[in-house]
Each structure stands twice: as structure tokens, then as C-alpha cells.
Amino acid sequence: MARVRGAIVIDVERCKGCGVCVANCPSHVIGLEHAVNSKGYHFSHVENPEECTGCTNCATVCPDAVITVYRKKFD
């Protein structure tokens, strides 16, 4: 059965760790990292990559435009 898989790339240095993407990801893919970036923010990171569908919701709400989204259909 065909399956749509997604992946996101987060620019962690520009991420301010607001968590809006985390709250808006329908597949619970994203979480906030325990570590901090050079600005001291707990940046977003991908916790469950397998669940990503590439729906772009996270990037659409990201106030700092730090998320790039890819999507591929697998047969």
C-alpha cells in the first residue's frame, strides 16, 4: 500500500523554542530538546521521525520560519 512519508529539517540556531510547532503537529513528531542552542533556547527537534507525513503544519505556524518540509510517496 502506498504510504506518504515526510521529513522536516529544523534550523536549530534560529529556533527560539516557542513550542508552537510542537502543539500544532498532528502526529506528535516534534518535541523540544533538553539541550539549548547558542541563544539559550530549547530548540525544536524531531522526536518521532517515523510519524511525519510532511503536512507542513509545523512550518506554517513557525513564527521564525526555521522549518523546511519534504514529502515523498512510497509504494
Binding site: 521529513a7 527560539k16 502543539a23 520560519a65 518540509v69
Partner: protein, 261 residues
């Protein structure tokens, strides 16, 4: 490994528009300004009108908007953006001209410029960010602050009797004949942001029609000054701001679609 197969240019479905510069946005974490800045730039990018667009930044949190938007822009004095936009549009009637203003700028100090630009039916777009507070100066009461809302200058809550009512400036200007399109949107969820982007697109497309002014209000949070986390602030906004500032189109194609006031 599927992951590496997915991340390649052929599968790209979303990346930051090049019209948003690489400069780190000066807004607080979780602030709707960043999303709104990006949506405006996405619209200009998709319409391919970068070389035809002149923007007017205002005073407030978005005072540095011209550092994030890769277009020709001017920084207006506090509240005067619609007057600057009028001047630009009058001498360049075929350019796309917009202002980007907050609620203190547009609905307090700039009320006169706002109402008269609207009333003259200037063929410009106003992007109006309403978070019910003065963000830049540290959380003072705005004309749009809700009844009972605690701010640094209404520390016991906005008292209607002594401080007046919150101002629904968007409904107010929608009554004016010079105004062609008015919509109130938000950017805190994916669906809200997508709708907001559509409204912004309409507000820019309308400039080609030369039928009057288009205004898109974006109800946003100010988590820093509301003293909530970004996610909690968005919830508070849904519970408290949206009932008073309901989302949706108010005027489309010069016709009121919602009974207001």
C-alpha cells in the same frame, strides 16, 4: 534509510520564502508577528511583485520589519503609516503599497490617518496586527485591550468606566465607503495561518482593481506581556480575544458580509 531518501530537493514541499531575509527576527519566541511577516512575504513572492511593492513599516514591535522583508520599505513615524502609504500610492498608482501596523500604532496614535486613508479609498493594503497591548514599550494598555485585561498601565484590569471601551477599529473602518475588503484572521494554528494568507492575498490582489482599501486584521498573542507561555497565550487568545474580535470576513468586494456594531 527512508529518511535520507525523503530529504532531497525533489521532495521539497515547504521552505522559507527568499523574500524573508536571513536576519533573525527580533520578535519574542512564539510571537505572531514573525508568522505574519512571513505570510505577507509569501504572498508577494507568489504574486511575483517584489519589484513592484513598496512597504511602510510602523512604530512598535514591527519597527524593524524592513530588516526582515526583502523589499523597498520606509519606516513611518508612529501612527502615520497610512499617510506615507497614501503619498507613495498617489505618486506610484501602479505599485503595490502596504502598511504593516500594530494596534497601538493603527488604532490609537494613528486613528486619524487610518480612518482618512480608509475613507479616501486609497488603493493600499493595511496589515493590522492586534494583540490588545503595547508590546514594544513593555505591555501597556492599548485601545484594543479587553475589558478587565491586566496590563502595566491597567494593573488591576481595564476598567471601562475610567479607561473606556476596547476599540473595534476594524468594524469601524469597514463602515466606510472607501474600504473594499476587511477580514479578521489569526496565525496561531496551521488552518488559521492558511486562511490569513488567503486574506492577505486577496488584500494585495484587490490593489489591481483600484476600488478602495483592503485591510486584514490579524488577532495575535503577546505572550511576553500577557505573561503566558507561547502555547498558553494562544489558548488564552482563543478563549478571550476571539469572542470579542471574532474571526472571518467582515467586508468583501465592497459589501458587508457580517452585521457589525
Amino acid at each position: 534509510m527512508e529518511f535520507n531518501e525523503i530529504i532531497n530537493p525533489g521532495n521539497l514541499v515547504y521552505k522559507k520564502t527568499n523574500l524573508l531575509t536571513d536576519k533573525v527576527l527580533s520578535y519574542c519566541p512564539g510571537c505572531g508577528h514573525g508568522t505574519a511577516n512571513r505570510l505577507v512575504m509569501e504572498v508577494i513572492d507568489e504574486m511575483k511583485i517584489q519589484s513592484e511593492t513598496i512597504g511602510v513599516a510602523s512604530v512598535g514591535c514591527s519597527v524593524l520589519a524592513y530588516e526582515f522583508m526583502d523589499i523597498d520599505m520606509v519606516g513611518a513615524p508612529h501612527g502615520r503609516a497610512p499617510a506615507l502609504a497614501t503619498g507613495i500610492k498617489r505618486v506610484y498608482p501602479d505599485k503595490f503599497v502596504f502598511t504593516y501596523q500594530g494596534d497601538g500604532d493603527l488604532a490609537a496614535i494613528g486613528t486619524s490617518e487610518t480612518i482618512h486613508a480608509c475613507n479616501r479609498g486609497e488603493n493600499i493594503t493595511i496589515i493590522f496586527i492586534n494583540n490588545g497591548i503595547y508590546g514594544m514599550t513593555g505591555g501597556q494598555m492599548a485601545p484594543t485591550s479587553l475589558e478587565g485585561m491586566k496590563t502595566s498601565t491597567s494593573p488591576y484590569g481595564r476598567d471601562i468606566e475610567s479607561m473606556g471601551h476596547p476599540l473595534k477599529i476594524t468594524e469601524l473602518v469597514s463602515q466606510l465607503d472607501g474600504v473594499y475588503y476587511v477580514s479578521r484572521q489569526a496565525v496561531h494554528t496551521p488552518s488559521a495561518a492558511r486562511k490569513a494568507k488567503k486574506a492577505i492575498r486577496i488584500a494585495f490582489e484587490n490593489q489591481k482593481l483600484k476600488k478602495g482599501l483592503s485591510l486584514v486584521e490579524i488577532v495575535s498573542s503577546c505572550n511576553s506581556n500577557w505573561k503566558l507561555s507561547p502555547v498558553k497565550a494562544n489558548e488564552w487568545m482563543e478563549e478571550n480575544m476571539f469572542p470579542f474580535y471574532p474571526l472571518g470576513d467582515i467586508k468583501v468586494d465592497g459589501v458587508a458580509v457580517k452585521k457589525v456594531l
